[in-house]
């Protein structure tokens, strides 16, 4: 019976596909009752299945589909409208058919279930429609020769073809019912594709090795051959990757019906919009996230979207919408499920977290926004106000997260209370071949996906901190006027033992989520195409997206840009402090106070400078301080900046002058870059202490030139510096010199 079982297997496979489309089509039909194309499609599908099961002697299936076909014929003739009841019945018929098919797959029989009820239901509908129009009842089961729709069987016999043509003017049932798919498809065992993929991956690595070893090689024939190898490998890899990928639509097709059924039983009105159905995913990944997507959609309908009455009272349209979007982004696949429902508010989450015991009050107090949102993923958490039998207690989010993380992905939730909830799943393309940029940090090499890199910035050698500023203690870099938060790779990964000096020379500007940040690395090597190899299960949760083998056989870890950014706090929590304004922290000091920069002198005395004059705080290498004539200067960002030593610019209070060789704590000097009169000036200070809001109302007059007043700041008497005077004292020609904008003063 080998031939027969192959036919049955074929029949099953196709029917399952067709039934999925039918689900979608039925829901579609309900929305657009006049879409004749959809009706035709549905009709053809059932007709095909019915015909084939006649041939294969599946009588139960035949009876069920027969009843269904009858109703569909009425729909097609427009003697029946696809009302919700009709659609529901038809959908139930589809379910019954699926059930029977599953049985057939399992043991070859149709199973013992009784489907007479659904048949009755359908027949009742049929009866309602023009009582006498029972032309189909005269035709009992069609003979075995009809509608042999499976490709393996022979052509339709002339008699049966005529009979079918009489009944159904649609195209010959010889071809499989799935409309758009041509005959040029092939079913391939997934294992074979897996093997192909692995081999191609190895080929790419081997090619890299050859390329590396041949670089600069003399023999032209060899070089040419290697280049050809290069090109061919590239094409091959693309082709095989495409072979393994399936559009995500294969799992999305179930959703419209799923949502419809859920909404009906929850007594809500919900529609789902699908975008990016053509986004390709590796087959194994598709399987893994199928259930997770269903969970999320179910949650959205059950807990996200409010009842029509509630929505109306909130001024929202009665029908809730779920948007499901899939796209490729940066070497990963991004799937977003967004509902315009009630959202999740922090208070609700926190309360629920406490009541369900997933977090203690102490924990909750110190959580950031992102962490609070993550609470919903903890096992045992549930925001269900009402347990429904549709989705249980709203559980499944922890399962979703486990599922997604087990394939190396991540899931996040964002919510606008009262307005929407969005879940974002990101899945890396494992076994993918991506372009990366190789960087080095403390001797180790890392790979960064090219798609996440915006640009590369090379800092000057030896001027480690030039251009790096500190805002609120966070290092940033000013890139063409914009502030870029910085992350030092060696710090984040804990690479150095602490003893060596940190030599970071380059910044890789990266894009994570919708934030940019700069990664400080020692050096940037070249860019390469590499094969992403997944890290084992023992290495999840780290900011690495995988590893790869480089041309010389060494291993480089691939950075997961988003995870790294999250870990370093420059992404997502950057929502909280946007670093897009001017360095002066919040320009408004509490009333009655002035924001001051607090300094410490060599003698532990305190001084203060009006922060509004300060444009930057820098730490520079003392060796860069140069003398030009009478003035001290420093080269700063391509300009020559006058440098004033604050300590020396002020007249000594004590009789003995502190020597110039006061012990210097480091090779670095703190310089306060100020702008006065439109001119920049660097003020060399001993130590920068803090930025404070000072109340100067009780200040007394200063006791020496250059000091505006004396006030108690932070419990200590501090001298408030008069910057202009100090500068004039140190560098009399400062204000009369050419201003940096090129205008002669």
């Amino acid at each position: 019976m080998g031939g027969m079982s192959a036919i049955i297997a074929e029949f099953l496979a196709e029917s399952v596909e067709n039934l999925d489309s039918m689900d979608q089509d039925l829901v579609e039909l309900e929305k657009n009752p006049d879409d004749s194309e959809v009706i035709e499609r549905i009709f053809r599908t059932i007709h095909t299945i019915k015909g084939t099961c006649g041939f294969l002697a599946f009588s139960k299936l035949e009876a069920v589909t027969h009843s269904g076909e009858t109703v569909l014929a009425h729909l097609r003739d427009r003697t029946l409208r696809p009302t919700p009841e009709v659609t529901t019945s038809l959908l139930r018929m589809v379910d019954s058919v699926r059930e029977i098919l599953a049985h057939i797959e399992k043991d070859g029989t149709e199973g013992d279930a009784d489907y007479s009820e659904i048949e009755r239901e359908l027949n009742a509908i049929d009866a309602q429609v023009a009582g006498g129009k029972k032309k189909t009842s005269t035709q009992a089961k069609p003979s075995k020769g009809t509608a042999a729709a499976t490709p393996k069987t022979g052509p339709v016999t002339p008699e049966s073809a005529k009979r079918d043509l009489d009944r159904d003017p649609s195209p010959s049932p010889e071809t499989p019912a799935a409309p758009a798919v041509g005959e040029s498809n092939l079913r391939v065992d997934v294992a074979v594709l897996d093997l192909l993929m692995n081999l191609v991956g190895e080929l790419v690595l081997a090619r890299n090795q050859i390329s590396q070893n041949l670089a600069g090689h003399a023999d032209p024939a060899l070089v040419t051959a290697s280049q050809r190898l290069d090109a061919i490998t590239g094409d091959l890899q693309e082709a095989v990757m495409r072979a393994r990928m399936q559009p995500i639509s294969s799992i999305l097709t179930k959703l419209p019906r799923f949502v419809r059924d859920l909404a009906l039983s929850a007594e809500k009105q919900v529609e789902i919009d699908l975008h990016g159905e053509e986004t390709d995913l590796d087959k194994s990944v598709l399987e893994a996230i199928k259930t997770s997507l269903l969970h999320l959609v179910r949650n959205a309908v059950d807990h996200g979207i409010e009842s029509p009455e509630e929505r109306e009272s909130k001024g929202k349209p009665k029908t809730g919408h779920i948007q499901l979007r899939a796209a490729h982004e940066g070497g990963a696949v991004l799937i977003e499920v967004r509902d315009d429902g009630a959202g999740l508010d922090n208070e609700g989450i926190v309360k629920r977290a406490i009541s369900s015991g997933v977090a203690s009050e102490d924990e909750l107090i110190s959580m950031t926004q992102a962490q609070i949102e993550h609470l919903v993923f903890r096992p045992g958490f549930s925001t269900a106000k009402k347990v429904t039998n549709v989705s249980g207690r709203g559980v499944g989010l922890d399962v979703v997260r486990t599922n997604v993380e087990s394939i190396g992905g991540s899931v996040e939730m964002q919510s606008e209370p009262g307005r929407s909830t969005t879940f974002r799943i990101k899945i890396p393309l494992t076994l993918a071949i991506v372009s990366v940029i190789l960087v080095r940090s403390v001797g180790q090499r890392f790979a960064i996906p090219q798609s996440s890199v915006v640009e590369l910035v090379r800092l000057g050698r030896g001027d480690k901190d030039l251009g790096i500023e500190f805002i609120h203690g966070v290092p940033v870099y000013r890139l063409r006027g914009r502030l870029l938060p910085l992350v030092t790779l060696s710090d984040e990964l804990g690479l150095h033992s602490g003893a060596e000096a940190i030599v970071a020379e380059s910044i890789v500007v990266m894009q994570g989520d919708d934030r940019q940040f700069g990664l400080l690395v020692d050096s940037i090597d070249d860019s390469q195409e590499i094969v992403v190899k997944p890290l084992g299960p023992r290495l999840v949760g780290l900011p690495f997206a995988g590893a790869t083998i480089l041309g010389d056989g060494s291993i480089a870890l691939i950075l997961d840009v988003l995870r790294l950014g999250l870990k370093a706090g420059v992404v997502s929590d950057a929502r909280l402090h946007s670093l897009e304004h001017e360095p002066a922290p919040a320009p408004v000091a509490p009333p009655g106070t002035i924001r001051m920069l607090l300094l410490q002198g060599t003698d532990d005395e305190r001084m203060a400078l009006d922060l509004s004059r300060v444009s930057r705080l820098e730490s520079v290498d003392r060796s860069r301080i140069e003398r030009v004539g009478d003035t001290t200067v420093i080269q700063y960002r391509g300009e020559i900046l006058s440098l004033i030593d604050l300590q020396q610019a002020l007249p000594e209070r004590r009789s003995s002058r502190r020597s110039d060789d006061a012990p210097q704590s480091s090779n670095e000097a703190s310089v306060v870059i100020c702008v006065i009169d439109g001119r920049p000036c660097g003020v060399l200070v001993h130590r920068i202490l803090d930025i404070v809001d000072a109340d100067l109302s009780d200040a007394t007059a200063g006791s020496r030139e250059g000091v505006k007043s004396c006030a108690v700041i932070e419990g200590r008497v501090s001298e408030v510096i008069d910057l202009a005077t100090v500068i004039r004292r140190a560098d009399p020609g400062f204000f009369s010199r050419q201003a940096p904008t090129g205008e002669k003063s």
Partner: protein
């Protein structure tokens, strides 16, 4: 296999191969018992440091070591030890409880001991050893 002063044994069927002088790429931020990744003929394999796993102090940085590649499910795993000895057959009746000197984590991973002529051969429960952050199952009776 030797790790520090301990002689350990595990079922030979689970050992795929033994390597000398492999280059290990460390993985920052990973579990401390993970020594890093090795390149096994194009496959990237995670290497666990058995010393660390057993709570023993690290070997000196320049000490030589050997790497045992195990087949674990469909994913090979590597284990770094000081050295690897021979395959031995041990009689089932020589099996005893682990010595009391073993404590904590180590104890969970050692199922028992065999008395050899000069030494005690500790039976390493492989599953427990490679299960990071978890406790081991009952040790099977090994012949290694």
């Amino acid at each position: 296999m030797t790790v520090g002063k301990l002689l350990l044994g595990t079922e030979v069927e689970r050992v795929q191969e033994v390597l000398r002088d492999v280059s290990i790429t460390p993985v920052p931020l990973a579990h401390p018992a993970i020594r890093g990744l090795i390149n096994l003929r194009g496959q990237i394999v995670t290497a666990i440091d058995l010393r660390r796993r057993l709570g023993l102090p690290d070997a000196p940085a320049d000490a030589r070591f050997m790497t045992v590649v195990l087949g674990v499910g469909d994913e090979p795993l590597a284990m770094v030890v000081d050295s690897v000895g021979d395959v031995v057959q041990v009689p089932a009746d020589g099996f005893e409880a682990p010595p009391d000197t073993l404590k904590g984590e180590a104890r969970r991973m050692i199922g028992g001991a065999h008395k050899l002529q000069r030494q005690l051969l500790l039976a390493l429960n492989l599953d427990a050893a490679i299960e990071l952050g978890g406790s081991g199952a009952e040790a099977p009776c090994p012949k290694a």
